[in-house]
C-alpha cells in the first residue's frame, strides 16, 4: 500500500491566460491530518478540484489512493469524502432526503454510521436544508462527506463563515470522527491558528507552487525570528534560508528557516551585531514570512 494517500507531481493549471498552478509537487502521508495553506486566490480550491477530477490539468498528475484523478475521476470521487468551500446544497430537500439522495451514489454508504453521525452532529432530520443555520449546514456537509467511510476526506475551508464557538465545535467533530479511524484528512483553511493544533503536516501554496511542506512541529522548530540589536540592514539575500528582514525600533529582526548555529553566525557577521533574542513563531507568522517575506532583499539604510 502506498505511503502517500495523495500524490501531486508537476501540476499546472490556468484559467485562460491566468496561470494559477505553476508546477505543484506535494505528497500527503496516509493517515495524516494535512493543512493546505495559501492566500485568497492562491489556487487551493483549484488544486482540490483537480484532485477530484473536476478539472483537467494542463500538465502534471494527481493521484489519490493510487488512482489517477484525470483518468479515474469517478473512482476517486467514490473513495473520497469532499466538503466544498461554502457548500450550497438543494434547499428544497429535507435533511433526511438529501442524505438518502447522496447515499444513492455510493455503494459503500453506511446507514448505521449515518444514524450515529446524525446524533453526534445534532442534525434535524425533518428540516429543509434551506432552513438550516450556517453551522448546521456545515455539519450536514460533513455528514455527507463521511457517510460512505472514505479513506480520504478533503475539506475546503470547512469553517468558513462560522463563529468562533461553532468553529471549535466543528473541528472537534472532525478530529473525533476521523482521527481514530486512520482516515487521511486534507483540508484548506485561512485560519492558521486553528490548523496549528490539529494538523500533523502543513503545506504553503504561494505564487502557484508549494513553498514549504513539512511536519507542523518541525516547521515550528525550524523557523525562528532572530532579534539583533543595532547593526546594519544590508542586502542579506545571499544567506540561504532568510525569509524576512525588518527593522524594529533600534533592533533588526531576521526570520530564518532551518535556523542552526552556522546560519546564526553568518547572520551576525552580515549584520555586524549579536543576537539578543530568539523568538518562536506561530503558524500565522511562519505563513506570513513565507508568503510576503522580503527574502532579505532590502535597500540599505
Amino acid at each position: 500500500m502506498s505511503e502517500s494517500a495523495i500524490t501531486i507531481k508537476g501540476l499546472r493549471f490556468s484559467y485562460g491566460s491566468n496561470n494559477i498552478l505553476k508546477g505543484v509537487d506535494l505528497e500527503v502521508p496516509t493517515g495524516s491530518i494535512f493543512g493546505f495553506l495559501g492566500r485568497n486566490g492562491a489556487g487551493k480550491t483549484t488544486t482540490i478540484k483537480l484532485l477530484l477530477g473536476l478539472l483537467t490539468p494542463a500538465a502534471g498528475t494527481c493521484r489519490v489512493l493510487g488512482l489517477d484523478a484525470t483518468v479515474d475521476a469517478l473512482a476517486v470521487r467514490r473513495s473520497v469524502g469532499y466538503m466544498a468551500e461554502d457548500q450550497q446544497m438543494y434547499g428544497w430537500m429535507r435533511v433526511e432526503q438529501i442524505v438518502k439522495w447522496v447515499a444513492a451514489f455510493y455503494p459503500a454508504w453506511d446507514d448505521k454510521l449515518t444514524s450515529k453521525l446524525f446524533e453526534i452532529l445534532e442534525l434535524p432530520a425533518k428540516a429543509k436544508v434551506k432552513t438550516l443555520s450556517k453551522g448546521q449546514n456545515n455539519r450536514l456537509a460533513l455528514l455527507l462527506a463521511l457517510g460512505h467511510r472514505p479513506k480520504v476526506v478533503i475539506l475546503d475551508d470547512p469553517t468558513l463563515g462560522l463563529d468562533p464557538i461553532a468553529r471549535k465545535d466543528f473541528l472537534r467533530s472532525v478530529i473525533v470522527l476521523l482521527q481514530t479511524n486512520g482516515t487521511t484528512v486534507f483540508f484548506s483553511s485561512h485560519l492558521l491558528y486553528e490548523i496549528e493544533p490539529v494538523a500533523d503536516y502543513v503545506a504553503i501554496l504561494n505564487d502557484g507552487v508549494i513553498v514549504k511542506a513539512q511536519k507542523t512541529d518541525e516547521l515550528r522548530r525550524s523557523v525562528k525570528k532572530l532579534v539583533l540589536r543595532g547593526g546594519e540592514i544590508a542586502d542579506n539575500a545571499d544567506v540561504e534560508g532568510i525569509l524576512d528582514v525588518e527593522r524594529v525600533g533600534d533592533c533588526i529582526a531576521v526570520t530564518v528557516e532551518d535556523c542552526d548555529a552556522d546560519k546564526q553566525a553568518m547572520i551576525q557577521k552580515k549584520i555586524q551585531s549579536d543576537i539578543v533574542r530568539q523568538v518562536d513563531l506561530n503558524l500565522d507568522e511562519i505563513f506570513e514570512a513565507y508568503v510576503i517575506g522580503n527574502r532579505g532583499k532590502v535597500s540599505c539604510g
Binding site: L52, L54, L74, Q88, Y90, W92, W101, A104, F105
Partner: protein, 242 residues
C-alpha cells in the same frame, strides 16, 4: 447511479410541467370556447408559440439554476458521469414542453372527434402537427441550452434563446428568398416550412430538389447531425462548467 438524478430532476421540474400543461390547456380551451379561432388555427398557434415560449422557459430553468444556486460543484462532485447529469437535465427540461404539447394534442383530438364528421384525417393532421411542433421546439430548446455560456443566469439563457430564435427566423427568410429567386413555386407544406425553419442547410435541397426518399433521408441526416452537434457542444460546456 442515474436513479438519484432522475428523482432529483423529477422533483425539481414536475411543478413547472404541471404549470405549463395547465396554462396551455387553459389558453387552448379559452380560444375554443370563445370561438376566436378554429381548432386547427388554435392548435398551430399553440404548437408554434406555446411550444417555443415554453421551450425557452424550460431551457432557462434546467442548467442555469445550478449555477445561480451555486450547487454545480455539489452536483458535479458526486461519482456520476457528467454526460448522465447532462442527459437527465436535458430530458426533464424537454418533458416540460413536450408533455403539455401532447396534452394539447389530446385535447384537440377530443374536440375534433366530438364535433366533426370524417375526423380521422383531422386527427392525422393533429398528430403530424404535434410531431412537427415538438421537433421544432426540441431543436430550439437544445440549441438554447447548449449555446448558452457555461456559467450563466436564467435571464442570460433567455437572451441566448431569443438570439437562437432570431437566427432561425433569418435562416427561414434566406431559404424563402432563395427559393423565390430560383423561381420555384412556394407550395411547401407546414411540415416543410418547419423543417426550413429548423435546419439552415435545408434550403439547398429545396432549390435543387432531389427526388423521393433520398431527399427526405438527407434532410433527416442533416437534422440529426445538427442536433447531435448541439448536444455534444452542450455536454462539453457542462463538463467544463465546474
Amino acid at each position: 447511479m442515474i436513479k438519484p438524478l432522475i428523482w432529483k430532476e423529477w422533483h425539481e421540474q414536475r411543478w413547472k410541467m404541471a404549470f405549463t400543461t395547465v396554462m396551455m390547456l387553459f389558453f387552448l380551451g379559452s380560444f375554443q370556447a370563445a370561438r376566436i379561432t378554429s381548432a386547427g388555427e388554435a392548435g398551430a398557434a399553440m404548437w408554434v408559440f406555446g411550444g417555443l415560449i415554453f421551450a425557452l422557459y424550460s431551457a432557462m430553468g434546467v442548467f442555469a439554476p445550478e449555477w445561480t444556486g451555486r450547487t454545480t460543484t455539489f452536483l458535479a462532485s458526486r461519482p456520476v458521469a457528467a454526460w448522465k447529469v447532462f442527459a437527465c437535465k436535458w430530458f426533464f427540461g424537454w418533458l416540460n414542453f413536450a408533455v403539455p404539447m401532447l396534452a394539447c394534442s389530446l385535447f384537440l383530438t377530443a374536440i375534433v372527434f366530438g364535433s366533426e364528421a370524417g375526423s380521422i384525417g383531422r386527427v392525422g393532421a393533429i398528430a403530424k402537427g404535434t410531431l412537427g411542433g415538438i421537433l421544432l421546439a426540441t431543436m430550439f430548446y437544445t440549441m438554447t441550452c447548449c449555446f448558452a455560456p457555461r456559467k450563466s443566469s436564467e435571464a442570460f439563457v433567455g437572451l441566448v434563446g431569443l438570439m437562437v430564435f432570431l437566427v432561425m427566423i433569418l435562416h427561414l427568410l434566406i431559404a424563402e428568398l432563395t427559393i423565390y429567386s430560383a423561381g420555384i413555386p412556394d407550395k411547401h407544406s407546414v411540415f416543410q416550412e418547419m423543417v426550413l425553419f429548423m435546419n439552415p442547410f435545408t434550403w439547398v435541397h429545396f432549390v435543387n430538389p432531389v427526388q423521393g426518399l433520398q431527399h427526405m433521408s438527407i434532410l433527416f441526416l442533416e437534422q440529426t447531425a445538427l442536433f447531435v452537434l448541439s448536444l455534444w457542444v452542450g455536454m462539453h460546456k457542462w463538463q467544463r462548467s465546474i
